[in-house]
Each structure stands twice: as structure tokens, then as C-alpha cells.
């Protein structure tokens, strides 16, 4: 649940007055902003979306536009009524990549009935129903040897009438411990000034940044188990300088909610090189795409600096 009542800019102003930041790295020029919305119309040359702000967005398509719908797809995937997230090309003039009806479920398996799951995504996100078609079941089982209630699962799929239709795993290796028995990194050492690990995305409207170690006094994570990575405590409104180490794109964004479930994963991201273990930030799809992440990959190697 986004904690929008907290005024992040006011907190930043007051904190600066009493504990000034030593230095703040400036992000490189803002990348082309992702566009998301409901598909109204699509042709080989143009896609039209109804955005959440109530406006129409029109982006030219080209032969180089890549479309994802449960895998690499063609123009027939761009059916009116489906949701799309579009990454514009570097010049912002055309659609470079389009993800159609992509959704994700990452959390604890609470019920398994054959190839269907109920996944608890945390106290603030609820339970998602996941159906796994036979053609992708083996691929997901390979990455999830503990495919049973109590263990963590992460799958990426497409939206369907019955919930999430899984098409691929969202993790390279499922944690081998139950979700409520997360081991801590030992020994506990001071957090480095730049945190390194994996960034993932989650189903949310734009502008959301979730962080696993929120202090309860500042709109925190509540009474949930600690995560794997020894992350410093922060609060809703704390600013993060987030850099995609695979693309070099960076942005400064305030934390908006708790990412307690992400904190329980001890996996690595290998989109470019192998990241250190642990998920340290979760982004809403538009922010993930803005930083150069591919939603179907599920993660990117990230460094995060506080402030």
C-alpha cells in the first residue's frame, strides 16, 4: 500500500537542515520516459494508448519495434483492451519495445493445487492466483525445486481472466529456505555507501519504489521478518540514487513503500554480470523500463546510494 500521505520533499528539506548530505551524485540526462496504458488501437505504423492520466498517447511503430506477449510476439498481440508498457527509442520518436499484459507474482506459496498456486505477495499486496500451463511448468519447476507451500516463488506471465498465466520464472534460483526462515548475512558489517544487488519490478502504478528495510517509526514494513541482505534502515520518503549497472541509466527516486517480500530473496541477477546476492529495490514497471530494464528479464544489476 503506497504511503502517499508522507511528504517526502518536506522530510528531505528538514533532514538537510539538521544532517546535510555530504555530496549527491547527479543522474545522467533523463532517459526517455516509458508510456503505459490500455491499448486503444494498433497498426504496423502506430500504437495508441489510453494512459492512466486520461490522455491518449500515440507512438509510431517500426520494423525494429519488439513486442512481448508471453514471449516474442507479432502485431496481433496488440489487441485493444490489453495493457501495454512501451519503452520509446533513445530519440523518443518511436516505440522500441512493447510489453503486453505482462504481470508478475513474487512471494510465498500459500496453496498449491497441481499447476495452480496462490502466492502471498506480502501484507501490503495480497494474494495472487497463478496458473501454470503445461508447456511452461517444467521450466518453472527447474528454477523452483521447493514448489510447495511455505517457500518463495517468482514467476512472470500474462494477465488472464483466471489470474496470472505464468510463462517463465522470475528468478534464476529459488531460495532453498522457507519464506519465514530467511538466513541473515554474517558477519554483520557496516553497510557500504553504495549498495549492490538486484533490482526487480512489481505490479504497481507508476512512481513506486519499494525498499526491504524500512524503519517502523517512519511508515515502515510492520512486523515482518527481516530480509537477507544487511540493508540500512530507511523510511518512506528517503531518496535513493538508483543506477542500472547494465545500462548505466540512473535516477533519483524517493521510497514509497515496503518491499519486505523482495528482501527475502537471496538470488542473483545475471542480466549483465552476476550481481551480489539479494534484492535491494523493487520498482514499478514504468520506472524499471525507464532505467533500461527489460520486464521479461525480471531484474537488472543495480547499485543504490542513499540521498
Amino acid at each position: 500500500m503506497p504511503q502517499s500521505r508522507i511528504d517526502a520533499s518536506s522530510r528531505r528539506r528538514l533532514r538537510q537542515a539538521v544532517v546535510p548530505d555530504p555530496d549527491r551524485p547527479e543522474p545522467n540526462p533523463a532517459p526517455a520516459a516509458a508510456v503505459s496504458g490500455l491499448i486503444l488501437d494498433a497498426s504496423p505504423h502506430l500504437i495508441v494508448l489510453a494512459t492512466p492520466a486520461g490522455t491518449e498517447a500515440r507512438l509510431p511503430m517500426s520494423d525494429a519495434t519488439s513486442i512481448w506477449y508471453a514471449g516474442k510476439a507479432d502485431l496481433s498481440a496488440l489487441q485493444p483492451g490489453r495493457r501495454a508498457i512501451i519503452r520509446p527509442s533513445a530519440d523518443g520518436l518511436a516505440a522500441e519495445r512493447v510489453w503486453v499484459d505482462i504481470v508478475r507474482a513474487a512471494g510465498t506459496i500459500v496453496v498449491r493445487d497441481g499447476a495452480t498456486l496462490d502466492v502471498d505477495e506480502g501484507p501490503h499486496r495480497g494474494v495472487t492466483h497463478v496458473a501454470i500451463p503445461p508447456r511452461t511448468l517444467s521450466q518453472i519447476l527447474v528454477r523452483h525445486p521447493h514448489f510447495e507451500p511455505g517457500y518463495l516463488v517468482d514467476v512472470i506471465g500474462v494477465r488472464s481472466a483466471d489470474g496470472l498465466l505464468a510463462v517463465r520464472p522470475g528468478t534464476r534460483s529459488q531460495p532453498d529456505y522457507p519464506a519465514d526462515s530467511v538466513p541473515r548475512q554474517r558477519p554483520v558489517e557496516p553497510a557500504p555507501p553504495v549498495l549492490a544487488g538486484a533490482a526487480t519490478w512489481f505490479g504497481a502504478q507508476g512512481g513506486e519504489v519499494a525498499y526491504p528495510a524500512l524503519d517502523q517509526s517512519g511508515g515502515g514494513c510492520g512486523d515482518v521478518p527481516a530480509g537477507y541482505a544487511n540493508l540500512p534502515y530507511l523510511s518512506v520518503g528517503s531518496e535513493l540514487y538508483i543506477r542500472n549497472e547494465c545500462t548505466g541509466r540512473a535516477a533519483r527516486m524517493p521510497i514509497t513503500q515496503c518491499g519486505c517480500v523482495a528482501g527475502r530473496f537471496r538470488d542473483r541477477c545475471v542480466v549483465c554480470e552476476a550481481s551480489p546476492r539479494g534484492r535491494i529495490v523493487e520498482l514499478s514497471p514504468a520506472e524499471f523500463v525507464d532505467l533500461g530494464g527489460d520486464l521479461d528479464e525480471g531484474c537488472f544489476n543495480v547499485t543504490v546510494r542513499v540521498g
Partner: protein
Amino acid sequence: MVDTLQEAQLPLLACVLILACITKIAFREAGETIGTGTIAAFRRYRPAVIAVAVVEGSIGAALLLTAHPAARLATVVVFFVATSVVFDLRTSEAHAGCGCFGGLSNTPVRFRTLLRAFLFLLAALAVVGMPATGLDVIRAGSGWVGAVVATELAVVAALSPEIGVLLARRRERTPCEQRTVPLSETFSILRASRQWREHAGMIATADPVDVWRELCWRFLVYPGRAEDKDVEIVFAVSTEERNPTVRVAIVRPEDSDTGPNPLYALSV
């Protein structure tokens, strides 16, 4: 010789039970090392853990003070249950600690932990029916008994991962940015500080209007008046375990977000 061996078990068992009582109360188990299942649910319920600790401490004291058969029987029952629980954890929980000595027993159960529990059970069986109390044995001060107890303590130490955990805890202090700090601790530090005393007269409300934390600082904002103007008094209280510091700044409420505008700031 057999009598000496039997007598030596009384102070040893009393010592172990009282130590288990103290550590269960002093070192709370972390949720992630408890594991799953019925026993784990019991161990997560703090009043139940305290009750077990009190029972163990009472039996330990009884071994020292009385030769009543009930105390000896209770000792056997306690170590039989402990051995069963440790065996169950060893076979079914790969990551859980046994909690035998509270939060110090947080490492996965290995064979040596199981062996230790079994040896304690044998020691408990050995003292059933003995006429002496633990204090009687200690007062008698036999050199042989002392040697046996010392040897057994050395064996117990070798079988106890808790000693390593305790030493590691003393070496490793949680860094301030990762310390879990209750709000009550922050308020105690703040209200005992010079900065609070110097600015308390300006503060308009008893409770802060905003509290949050970043890294090693917890921030508390109070509305107040300075030079006949409304101001915000911002305290920053460090989360250091030792020698925490307090800073204060007085800030005009923002008309627009034009950046920080402190009237003055003090740091200590």
C-alpha cells in the same frame, strides 16, 4: 568411584539448567532461526519460552537444594524432552537452531548438539535416587568430584556452539544503520540531551508531528515558536549503541520548496 561420578552430575546439571533459564530470558530467539512446525510455533510465543525457562531454573535450583525424587524425575523428563526435540530438529529442520540456550542456540542443529543433549539425559538418569543434594556435593569439596565436573564442563563446552555465538556477539556490534532501535530508546536519549533542554521551551506540542529514520539518524519534528514566528524544530538522534549524539535545527515552515532554510543549526 561410581559414587563420585554420580555425585558430580548434580552440580553440573544444576549449572546447565540455571544457565538455560538465564539465557532463554536474556537472549531472545530471532524469528528466522526458529524454523517451522509445532515446536517452532511454541518457541515463537514468548510467554511459553519464559515459562519453560522458569521451570528449568526451578529444577536446577531444586537439584541444589533438595534430594526429593520429584526433582530428579523432573530433571530426567526435561532432558528426555530436550533430546527428543533436538533429534526432531536435526532430522526435519535444516536451518533451525535448537533454542536450548535461547537466542545463543541459533546455529543449525549438528550431531554434537544431539550428543550433548543425550549426555545430559544420561547424567539426569545417573542422579535418580541419590540421597545427596547438589549443595551437599559442593560443600564436601572432594577433589575427585571437582576434577570430574571440570572434565565434563570441558566436554560440554566442546559440544556447545553457543560459546562461539556468544564470543562472536561480543566481537560484532550491529552497525548503527542496521540496529533495530525502539522509539522509546530514541525518546530517552533525546529527553536526556542538552539540545532538548535548551529548546523544550519553544516546543508547542508534547508529541512530534513527524518521525522517521535514515541510516544512523532518527528524525523528530516538533512545531514551535521562535522570535514570534512559527518554526519547525528538528531533532536528529543517532542510533549508535554507544555515545549516541543529538543534533537540532530550527527551520521556518516552507512557503514553497526552495530548499533548506535553517535559522540556525547546532551539531554536537
